[in-house]
């Protein structure tokens, strides 16, 4: 707890050397840690290599090397056009769920985290207890009753069934609360108020810019959660036209097991690759922001 008094600016400066003097690089440590690196990357490399294979090569050639044909572009074209281009439809659905769900969840978490960090109000302790307790509530335990509720409201098999439950991220609220506590000096808010700014304007013009790294961090986590969501759509959706990518891929994969179904493992692998590429790009692109957000607020005691 004592460490929370550390100023975020100091925590964020990336060049800080922890041990006095420059630590000597260790080849041995690099190699030992390299085992975990290889473990992390091998399945991704496997996926990349196998997305270039024809279905025949997939089963007959060594998994970690290229097959006799280079079918990457052919697989790509087939994955995008299979079944009247249903994959693109799934991609569009996923984007919709991410923009509305993760975007909305981030907005609600920022507003709520700011409220919990910077204001005293009646019932605040109760809110804390309930929302933090909710982190421990199994998402899957909720999904089934939510389905019955939504079903009676005729919301199942519509995008709302995915978007509305995605709007709440207790972990996002927690991250935002601990970030806002550090990042906004009370004096600054007072100064804005003395100048006659309304609460909304103080939030919008003074506080929101300071919350940016935390916001990006929460956005990243809610984005991953929504993009990768499987259980909720599995329960809520029957119509493949509303499927997100995860559900669609699983349908492609299980197609081989159904009677008369065509095995399309080559398309499953290409589709998997296409599903993870956007998130990986987002990670690399935003990493400077969200990592500082995580260190400055996030999880430190």
């Amino acid at each position: 707890m004592a460490l929370t008094t550390l100023r975020p600016a100091a925590a964020r400066s990336r060049g800080t050397l922890h041990t006095p003097g420059r630590p000597k690089r260790s080849l041995l440590l690099t190699i030992v840690t390299g085992i975990v690196l290889v473990y992390s990357l091998i399945p991704l490399i496997w996926l990349l290599i196998n997305s270039t294979k024809s279905q025949g090569d997939l089963f007959s050639t060594f998994g970690l090397w290229f097959g006799s044909e280079f079918n990457f572009f052919e697989n790509l074209a087939r994955a995008l056009s299979y079944d009247d281009g249903i994959f693109l439809r799934w991609l569009g659905n996923t984007l919709l769920y991410v923009v509305a769900g993760a975007g909305g969840a981030t907005l609600l978490a920022v507003l709520g985290g700011y409220a919990l960090a910077k204001f005293d109000f009646p019932g605040k302790k109760a809110v804390f207890a309930v929302v933090i307790g909710a982190v421990a509530v199994p998402g899957t335990a909720l999904a089934v009753p939510t389905f019955w509720m939504f079903s009676s409201m005729s919301l199942t098999d519509t995008p709302w069934a995915i978007i509305i439950p995605s709007l709440i991220s207790p972990f996002g609220l927690y991250l935002m609360w601990s970030f806002a506590k550090e990042a906004i000096p009370a004096d600054l808010m007072e100064a804005a108020r003395i100048d006659g700014a309304s609460e909304l304007r103080t939030f919008w013009q003074v506080c929101l810019p300071l919350l940016a790294p935390g916001t990006v961090t929460v956005l990243l986590f809610t984005m991953v959660a929504t993009w990768n969501n499987y259980f909720l759509p599995l329960i809520m959706l029957r119509d493949p036209d509303w499927f997100p990518l995860t559900l669609g891929l699983n349908q492609w994969n299980s197609q081989a097991a159904t009677a008369g179904g065509e095995a399309i493992f080559d398309l499953v692998l290409m589709g998997s690759l296409l599903t993870i590429i956007p998130l990986i790009i987002a990670f690399l692109f935003l990493q400077r922001y969200w990592q500082s957000g995580l260190s400055a607020g996030g999880v430190k005691e």
Binding site: T30, L37, W46, F62, A117, P122, T246
Partner: protein
């Protein structure tokens, strides 16, 4: 979650006008009463949706768990009968035992690897440490569906990587999708997915340790291991507890990986392999909504009790 979460903020936010002593009393009072509720204005949107997608389904679940629906005879109030049934249901306990075993083995391995990598990256002694940090985190971007499909393909003894390795080296790695080993195979997938995520949580916590502590340790002549044991680990205890609790919740909620592997290994993974799969199949295949709601509630309560116990224990050690 940690004491920081459950207890009120350490530094209570100052009431907005506390520094202002001059304004007329009346104006100050009206501002104060307005400020008392301002926080709710910002929190209201979250709480409104929260009520709809958290509180209402939980309440509805509890309500459902008290009834029993039969094809003939309709719905009747049965009190705690469903709970009694759950407590003497060997299928439910079998699933619970399985996820407990999973938890006891997978979580320590995963968190141990995460901690070692975080310490290694933080030490500044790695060549290309940025590359390490980002690469190990990448699997977190991979959906459970894709991760399970990839690993499922690789596990296959006939067509997969394991089969090819067996053939090439003349080894006999057993069938990783067989009923004896599949739990470990699932553990490997989950470990792969979340090592980087936990590593990042630990790394973020390590980054905010004030360098004055390290300077003091250097003056005292403490070595690397001493610094790790006496400064780094105690300083990130909170992050360790958070990660442990999230992992416990994840283990008890195990669903995606076994559900997807089921297509590849139907003989190894039953429809009640984990309590969650059980609740799902009761509800959607078995048409037993009431009992399914009961199973979900019992699991939720068990999860919360254990998460709370870990939090208490983790935080007591700190004192």
């Amino acid at each position: 979650m940690t004491n920081t979460i459950t207890s009120p903020p350490a530094r209570a936010p100052r009431t907005p006008h506390s520094a202002r002593t001059t304004p007329a009393p009346r104006r100050q009072r009206s501002f104060a009463s307005r400020a008392r509720w301002t926080g709710w204005g910002f929190l209201a949107p979250f709480m409104a949706v929260f009520l709809l997608v958290f509180i209402a389904p939980i309440a509805y679940s509890i309500y459902l768990s008290l009834f029993h629906t039969q094809l003939v005879g309709g719905t009747s109030f049965v009190g705690f009968d469903n709970y009694l049934r759950a407590f003497s249901d060997p299928v439910f306990w079998g699933g619970l035992l399985r996820v407990s075993l999973f938890l006891a083995i997978q979580v320590p391995i995963m968190l141990g690897i995460s901690l070692l990598v975080a310490l290694a990256v933080d030490s500044g002694r790695l060549y290309g440490s940025d590359f390490f940090r980002i690469s190990v985190f990448l699997p977190y971007a991979v959906p459970a569906v894709v991760a399970s499909l990839m690993w499922g393909f690789m596990y296959g003894t006939r067509f997969g990587l394991v089969g090819q390795i067996n053939e090439f080296f003349g080894w006999s790695i057993p069938d990783l999708l067989g009923p004896q080993i599949i739990l470990a195979s699932i553990g490997n997938i989950v470990t792969w997915e979340f090592v980087g995520y936990n590593m990042l949580i630990f790394y973020a916590a390590l980054r905010v340790i004030p360098s004055s502590l390290y300077e003091a340790a250097a003056i005292d002549g403490a070595g690397q291991w001493r610094v790790i044991g006496s400064i780094k680990i105690p300083a990130i205890r909170g992050a360790l507890v958070v990660a442990t609790i999230f992992s416990i919740i994840g283990s008890f909620q195990l669903f995606n990986e076994p559900s997807i592997l089921q297509a590849l290994a139907p003989n190894s993974i039953t429809s009640a392999y984990t309590p969650n799969l059980y609740a799902y199949s009761l509800s959607f295949a078995g048409q037993q909504q009431n009992y399914s709601a009961t199973v979900a509630i019992v699991m939720g309560v068990i999860t919360m009790v254990i998460a709370y116990a870990v939090q208490l224990r983790g935080m007591r050690k700190e004192a």
